[in-house]
């Protein structure tokens, strides 16, 4: 399957093996972007054509420009998400301008959640959310394939039980 960041393989031992997100999330976000901004463009175009002097209709193109820019940004953001399961901890890296890299030792996980809203379910996506005893821990992997999310959840829980450390 094509993924955002190429699955790096065969590099030096000790280097994490990164996995990117499947394309479903990008597809969903782009579709939403196009649908909403397209609607906005149509509504704005109709209103401007009816009530504004001619020429102002060109303003209706603005949402379309925005959509193009957003299309690009969503792609960059999606490519930036990646995670790696190491022997003892989970790495999550994300963000383009504001980068964030999180390390959570398996033994610290208190709860692993698989969440999926109605829209995500329609696109066959599921997110994995990790909780530790620290509220600030922000370890979330969105837009996974449901089977992969299940696998990740089970594996994390299993590793968490094996290395359990508590508070």
């Amino acid at each position: 399957m094509e993924t955002g960041s190429v699955r790096t393989e065969g590099n030096a031992p000790g280097e994490p093996v990164w996995t990117g997100l499947p394309p479903g999330l990008l597809r969903m976000r782009r579709l939403l972007l196009v649908v909403w901004l397209g609607l906005l463009a149509v509504v704005a175009g109709v209103l401007l054509a009816l009530f504004a002097p001619p020429g102002w209709v060109a303003l209706a193109l603005l949402p379309l420009v925005l959509a193009g820019w957003g299309w690009h940004m969503l792609g960059r953001n999606w490519r930036s998400w990646r995670y790696a399961e190491r022997a003892d901890d989970l790495l999550i890296s994300r963000g383009v301008l504001w980068r964030e890299e999180t390390v959570v030792p398996y033994g610290r996980m208190q709860l692993v959640e698989v969440t999926s809203g109605p829209l995500e379910r329609h696109f066959r996506l599921a997110g994995v959310q990790l909780h530790t005893a620290a509220a600030a821990t922000d370890a979330r992997i969105p837009g996974l394939d449901p089977a992969e999310a299940e696998r990740l959840r089970d594996r994390l829980t299993e590793l968490g039980e094996a290395r359990s450390a508590g508070l």
Partner: protein, 553 residues
């Protein structure tokens, strides 16, 4: 949660499981879905959503093998079977460690909330001796109506006076005749319906008149024990006892117990939590205390006087009403702003002195003992290995003379370890709290180019990592050094904004329990990446050397 651990919230599916013992009868079943607060609920509700066909799988996995014995579930308020609890404790499943499990009865349970005998029969353990609180307890509620009236009078003085003049003597008498017995009855009933019992692994508190509530507080998850005595309680010879575990709230305190009983109960709870045998636990008695530190009143007074906030609040309390008087010439406005300001000034000076008076820190096998207070006395006990973070605060005017040490314990509101002490003495106390810790002397500053990200402030930042702690410093005038033991680190994060990246800098955040995050700001990007990796390793291995939860076991 994994498919391997028992999960009571999937129990509806289990009723169809042919392997379940037949005597899981109707009377037992209402107990099963009886966990409205079960933290796993979002998990399971999401499971079918995430994966079609996931739920049957999970139910099968947690079937006969994993499901806690239904007979245990059939007992009494033990709708939280013990093996369910231990499965929960060991990670993977419950956030905040699921320390106290509650059932807010009333709505779900129809089976007359557990006669004590029923529980003994159901669980097949020795009968629980349920106890009531001290008989003086009802009177703690007696002042409530008075306080409400007083609060209203203060809030709206003009109208209160108007109402008072209209009140006739008969109306007053009738009012008293209704309010006083009502309050007394409420106080009496809430006392009558509150029971507590100590089992081998739990403290159980059963309370509530209309809405029953049972808290089971697991002793091995104990974070701290507090005995507090407000002034009036001291006069009456009673005390409040509170067990801090993650997730308890104010309702889970035992108020009031007799003074001696509170101490005996604390000793017993600590002995059980420490891992003494159940038979021995009630006879172990108080652990001996070795004093570490006592703050003389003179030093405390001087330290309060040398604190900037004291003078700032006092100045505000004097200047603001004066200015208002010249501006408005309205006595009410001046009073309305002046009184709260004076109150704040008082709280930050006199209040602090009174609260931190006679501050004594001692060390015992049960952990750290902190006793303090002039009017209200408080006695705190923090068992070994419960401290999540420690902060050394050094206000500008104290520099070179004293430091203040604050600490964080998960689920506890205690925040001060040493209100004021010379540096060496405070460091000795820290060494007792976090064994094997030496406070790093000179934290390393960020590189000079950090000045582009945080002009001036960057000079206050610092970082030091020792074998035992991750330490960061911040603050230019009021210096704060935060220490996190490696064993308490829950996760490590590296963040980098665009401007920081341009300058080749990054921040490293270390998340500890008790909701604290310690940040090393503006480190060199390469150093930060290395730090992230190394800190993850250290926090993973740090836990291995840490003492067990049951510290005497």
């Amino acid at each position: 949660m994994s498919t391997a651990s028992p999960d009571p919230s999937v129990s509806p599916d289990l009723s169809a499981d042919p392997d379940l013992p037949a005597h899981l009868d109707a009377s037992a079943r209402p107990d099963l879905p009886d966990l409205p607060a079960h933290p796993d609920v979002p998990d399971t509700s999401a499971r079918p959503a995430a994966v079609p066909g996931g739920l049957p799988d999970a139910a099968a996995g947690s079937g006969p093998a994993g499901f806690p014995s239904p007979t245990a579930g059939a007992g009494h308020d033990g709708s939280v079977p013990d093996d369910g609890g231990s499965a929960r404790g060991d990670g993977g499943s419950v956030r905040g460690d699921g320390d106290s499990v509650r059932e807010d009865g009333g709505s779900v349970r129809g089976d007359g909330d557990s006669v004590p005998g029923d529980s003994a029969a159901g669980l097949g353990e020795r009968p629980l001796s349920e106890r009531r609180l001290h008989p003086v307890t009802p009177f703690r509620r007696a002042w409530a109506p008075v306080a409400v009236l007083a609060g209203w009078a203060v809030h709206d003085p003009g109208q209160a006076q108007e109402q008072l003049t209209r009140l006739t003597t008969t109306a007053l008498l009738v009012g008293l005749a209704v309010i006083v017995p009502g309050a007394a009855l409420y106080g009496f009933l809430s006392w009558w319906f509150t029971h507590f019992a100590v089992t081998d692994t739990e403290l159980r508190i059963r309370t509530g008149l209309l809405f029953r509530r049972t808290a089971h507080i697991r002793l091995e998850r104990l974070q701290a024990v507090d005995i507090t005595q407000p002034l009036l309680a001291r006069v009456a010879g009673v005390a409040k006892l509170k067990l801090d575990v993650v997730g308890t709230d104010d309702k889970d305190e035992l108020a009031y117990l007799g003074e001696g009983e509170a101490r005996r109960l604390r000793a017993e709870l600590l002995a059980r939590a420490a891992g003494f045998a159940p038979e021995a636990a009630s006879e172990v008695g108080e652990a001996p205390v070795r004093p570490l530190l006592h703050v003389p009143p003179g030093v405390l007074a001087a330290s309060v006087l040398l604190t900037g906030t004291t003078w700032a609040s006092l100045a505000a309390a004097l200047v603001v009403p004066t200015l208002l008087w010249f501006a408005t010439h309205s006595a009410w406005t001046v009073l309305a702003t002046g009184l709260p300001l004076l109150g704040a000034a008082g709280a930050s000076s006199v209040g602090r002195f009174v609260g931190e008076y006679d501050w004594t820190v001692g060390e015992s096998p049960d952990g750290l003992r902190i006793d303090h207070g002039l009017l209200d006395r408080a006695h705190e006990t923090v068992p070994p290995g419960r401290v999540q973070t420690v902060r050394i605060v050094e206000p500008l005017l104290w520099r070179g003379r004293w430091v203040r040490v604050e600490l964080d314990v998960a689920g506890s509101s205690n925040a001060v370890l040493v209100p004021v002490a010379p540096r060496e003495v405070a460091y000795a106390v820290i060494a007792a709290v976090l064994p094997g810790t030496t406070v790093p002397a000179l934290p390393a500053r960020p590189p000079r180019r950090a000045g582009w990200c945080a002009p001036l402030r960057w000079r206050g930042y610092g970082l030091a990592v020792t074998d035992a702690v991750f330490a960061t410093r911040r603050g230019l005038l009021r210096r704060r050094l935060h220490l996190v033991p490696h064993a308490k680190v829950q996760s490590v994060r590296l963040t980098q904004g665009p401007w920081e990246r341009f300058k080749g800098l990054a921040d490293v955040h270390v998340d500890a329990g008790a909701g604290k995050t310690v940040t090393a700001r503006l480190r060199d990007a390469g150093e930060a990446a290395e730090l992230l990796r190394a800190q993850a390793d250290r926090s993973r291995t740090g836990r291995r050397e840490a003492p067990p939860d049951r510290w005497m076991a």
